[in-house]
Symmetry: C2
Subunit: 631 residues, 2 copies
């Protein structure tokens, strides 16, 4: 087949490729860091390139691709690299906006200490070889030796193990390592002595999925990997996915297949990084909200989405990896943590077994911030949980210049209340390319403090500064002028961005207030922020915009991805799994939308920081207009 030359600018890297290769594949093989969140599937729209020469040598643009490009981009010869396959020579230029930012490597999980008692354990055993005097079968021979050497009794043997057993025993010359699940079932037999046991913990978020490969002998994370949930193109939030599952023929099948594909992709990356085989992964533990839980397990989610919001199953689910087509040990167990109720799912159970509020005397408000926000209020006496429809704004989605926490993302800033001048910091100190999740909270808080945003959320267009301006799409505030950015455009915060944050923070605040009412608390003693985003948030800024009720700022703590940490703990400890089952059964779930105070609480919480509640701990930071605007 003819080879085609491809040159990428500005690096000038070039190579020859088979006809049919996509520009994304070509870029990857030349080591060019082209952004791609969806893994080349054509839906994230991030791998834009400008075709300098040879547009006629590319497969034509389809309608799906055209939708992800603006008219201006199409006119300027933009293409999505993953959609454009070569038929001849091409010169393409990679715009700055498409350069893949290396996600900042931050500590992926707290790695809380836990007494190691994983469900999967390995046992080394030596068998007497069979003879005409003792021609006992392979299984019985193995079981007898396991009982003699390790006291293991009444073990079942998984069917997949049965099929490979005769060859394994003889390859190992009757010396083998046996992997036992839950003290009950042999799930793997390997020739010789094998020490390490691996498991994978996965947190399936509505928007982002993250996986951790964990060595079950040491409890340590060996590798981790995150990616967008491949279900995103079929619906951005849980309700739209439920709708997709119900209304589309094969809708559930599609959603299920995508999340399984995503999890398999993560696992492939985890084992690749650790240089182990997929079948070395002997168990997978998952957390996720109830909708993610149902879609992953291919459970029909219709009744989750309508009153009285009943899930298919609350208790922890154990399924063979092969029944889910997960590409790990076929006999391996897949354990999904239990769910509570409504949309408060296994992710919140994960947060709870990581934070253990039932051991505390003081009242905690635990907030897990993701596309769906789950909150818990309580202490050792009782615990209440609820789900808040925050939407993905806190993650930087639906924010015009929102981006991942990657080099060039504005993560901190200050606005001078007199001059409205902005000083900012970006991740890696690079030229700004956008605003990450924690940056947008800070920006809104600073704009509010400086009077650029009114308590109602409206941008004050009457301010005398060039930075506040009106466009055809509404008013906006310029954070960074074009000549300072890496993208050749002004980076702004728009009125739409403010509204998105306002809705999200109101949902959280309103949920907290209703749970506090149920618990009988006027105030909370501690606020625990979970979720990767919660780790980097500026607590003061979060309180200034009214994300949660007033509290001593020293008592606002971040615990990182506690849901993922919970999955890790459940992977490492059978006791933690039991704790998870117990808490999922006993926590009291509150359906916010049917609470008589819901409408009022939500409306009041729309105001920055709140229509009525006072914030003694940060009162000094609030603008004087704060209370007056609505009185």
């Amino acid at each position: 087949m003819a080879k085609c030359k491809v040159v990428f600018q500005p690096s000038g890297r070039r190579g020859e490729f088979e006809e049919g290769t996509t520009l994304l594949e070509a870029a990857k093989s030349l080591g060019i860091p082209l952004e791609s969140l969806c893994g080349g599937e054509g839906w994230c729209g991030k791998c834009k390139v400008i075709i300098e020469k040879g547009m006629e040598n590319l497969t034509p643009m389809g309608s799906a691709e055209a939708k992800l490009l603006t008219d201006r981009e199409i006119a300027a010869n933009y293409r999505l690299a993953c959609r454009a396959a070569i038929k001849g020579d091409v010169v393409a230029s990679v715009p700055e906006v498409s350069v893949a930012a290396v996600q900042v490597v931050r500590k992926p999980l707290l790695e809380l200490p836990v007494e190691l008692n994983p469900a999967v354990k390995k046992y080394y055993v030596e068998l007497p070889p069979p003879s005409l005097e003792d021609p006992t079968g392979d299984v019985e021979r193995l079981l007898a030796s396991l009982e003699a050497a390790h006291g293991l009794k009444n073990l079942k043997v998984d069917y997949e193990v049965l099929k490979s057993l005769p060859e394994t025993l003889r390859e190992g010359e009757w010396k083998v390592t046996v992997t036992v699940w839950d003290g009950k079932e042999i799930v793997k037999v390997e020739p010789g002595k094998v020490e390490d046991v691996y498991g994978v913990a996965i947190d399936i978020g509505t928007t982002t999925m993250v996986g951790f490969l964990i060595n079950l002998k040491t409890g340590r994370i060996v590798s981790h990997y995150s990616m967008m949930n491949p279900q995103v193109p079929l619906g951005e939030d849980v309700m739209s996915r439920i709708t997709h599952a119900i209304l589309k023929e094969d809708g559930l099948e599609q959603l299920h297949e995508r999340v399984i594909r995503g999890v398999n992709f993560i696992i492939s990356k985890l084992v690749e990084a650790a240089e182990i085989k997929p079948e070395d992964v002997c168990e997978v533990v998952l957390v996720g909200n109830t909708c993610m839980h149902h879609l992953f397990l291919k459970l029909y989610p219709e009744y989750l989405g309508k009153s009285p919001f009943t899930p298919v199953v609350h208790d922890a689910v154990n399924v063979k990896a092969r029944d889910l087509k997960l590409q790990v040990l076929a006999s391996g167990n897949v354990h999904f943590l239990p769910i509570e109720a409504g949309f408060v799912g296994a992710d919140n159970v994960g947060v709870l077994i990581a934070t253990e509020p039932w051991k505390k005397e003081h009242v905690q408000l635990i907030i897990d911030i993701g596309t769906n926000g789950e909150i818990v209020v309580g202490n050792r006496e009782k615990l209440f949980s609820a789900s808040c429809a925050t939407g993905p704004a806190f993650e930087g989605a639906h924010i015009k210049y929102g981006m991942r926490a990657a080099p060039g993302a504005i993560e901190d800033l200050k606005i001078d209340p007199e001059t409205f001048e902005v000083t900012y910091e970006t991740i890696g100190g690079e030229k700004p390319r956008g605003i990450c999740g924690s940056g947008i909270i800070k920006a809104i808080a600073e704009m509010f403090k400086a009077g650029i945003i009114l308590p109602s959320g409206k941008i004050n267009v009457e301010l005398s500064t060039r930075r506040v301006r009106e466009t055809s799409e509404g008013s906006e505030f310029v954070l960074v002028w074009r000549d300072e950015t890496a993208i050749g455009e002004d980076i702004t915060v728009t009125q739409k961005d403010v509204r998105a944050i306002q809705l999200a923070k109101a949902a959280l605040y309103c949920g907290a207030k209703i749970l506090m009412k149920h618990f009988g608390a006027e105030k909370v003693d501690e606020v625990v922020l979970a979720g990767a985003f919660g780790t980097y948030i500026d607590k003061e800024a979060a309180m200034v915009i009214g994300m949660f009720p007033d509290c001593d700022l020293n008592k606002v703590v971040s615990v990182g991805n506690a849901a993922g940490e919970g999955a890790r703990l459940a992977l490492l400890s059978k006791e933690k799994r039991e704790e998870a089952r117990r808490i999922a059964r006993t926590i009291k779930y509150i359906e916010l939308s049917i609470d008589p105070d819901f409408q009022r609480e939500f409306m009041e919480a729309m105001v920055f920081p709140h229509m009525k509640d006072s914030f003694p701990h940060i009162q000094h930071l609030l603008p004087k207009t704060s209370k007056e605007g609505f009185k």
Copy 2:
């Protein structure tokens, strides 16, 4: 597409068919009973037709087809109907030999009484519908109701059930019937009240497979179906199949896939006859020899076939139907009875739980006659088992005019010792078409009694009768002259036929003698003949040829397909399964081939009825030459 006319003679039935239709398909759709043992797969060679017109309108003959036809048949325009697809008009004539004989419907199993305690049971339950006050999930709601109504606790829920549960509960308006396996796991939930529970018992023979659909509420057989084992073309006996599995790439895969296909075909016929759905079959219990057991479960059989002859597993195996791709309830259990050792497999365990020799005072010899013969000697004190390589001769295979027990099969006969004239009876009183298994034993015994066969097994060609003659393939005895038969040929017993029976009976006799030696018995008190063939055998004739040691003829009993009966009992009773596990562990297996007396015993048993042993109970029937020939 063009339609082609096909006419079948002599019936004159005709029809128009799409191009590409095979003559077998055309015959079936016209209701013409064309024989086909292999289901149209091109290996049984039974669906011969003679092309009267239009040979050029058929797909050409391949080498596989040509091998199954004689040169004479090819010259006479014979084709196999399943291999010949039409491209134009054809007139075909169906020779008498190809007319499908309706297998005589005989009582398929003894249907021994048993206390019904099947592993699968159904429970009807009514659930309170969920409400906003009680939004508990579907699984927990179901489990709570099952515990309240039936005291069932700690039930697991199969993953397949989980997936369909929400729809089923709502379709049944919260009234459902739950199928529970082994008191432990929910394997099915159906809307409304369902009373009947079904299971399938299958006996996988080396040559023949038979299945029984059983109503687990009544214990009765609802339908039964038998067919050739589709593995036959890959090897006629167990050793040749093991060789195939070891030496051919994908050999095990091929053999496994064929037996699964066969079992699925049987199940499809069973449920069709009973007018139920495949998923109404909630459990499948199987018996078969160790090789069939391994191939069905896809266990590598290499070490079974070589010293020290170790199987992969002795104990009963439980596997989900979906893991074996059996087309019954996906969550349903597949239970293969335990095996003893060597080739004495689950079929013999089935025979034992049906006959219960451990309850007897007197010494029994139990013979299960199939392609592989298994024998047991013992009583309540101890039991010994062994496997005898009888080959398929007793089933009429490798016998020149051997056929199934179908109309036209000679099943009984007498030979006048003076005139050598033969009087015979056929099944259904039809013109003879061949000799069935019981007929060939009778024929050999009568020939021996009349001096046509000498004790050495040689046909006495010096007899002055036209019926004994020499051909290019050896000597033979004419049972029925051509003008009396339905096939237009003489029906004969050849020297090769006699040798095949001689080897088979010697293998059985020799095995019985060695087990008697181990037990310490000079003689046995009772002979139990198991196997479908054992039911129709003439006991006297069997003893005359020396199939087993001397015994009071009144103490020779037939118990039919006791292996299949054992599968039925295990399907109906958990206690019988436990009995099976216990006996499989405790019976003492004897490897005949390594016994020091094996060669001598075998050689002595080759003689009719035996070289040395006396037969006081039938001495009066034996020819005077009997003892003299070897003294």
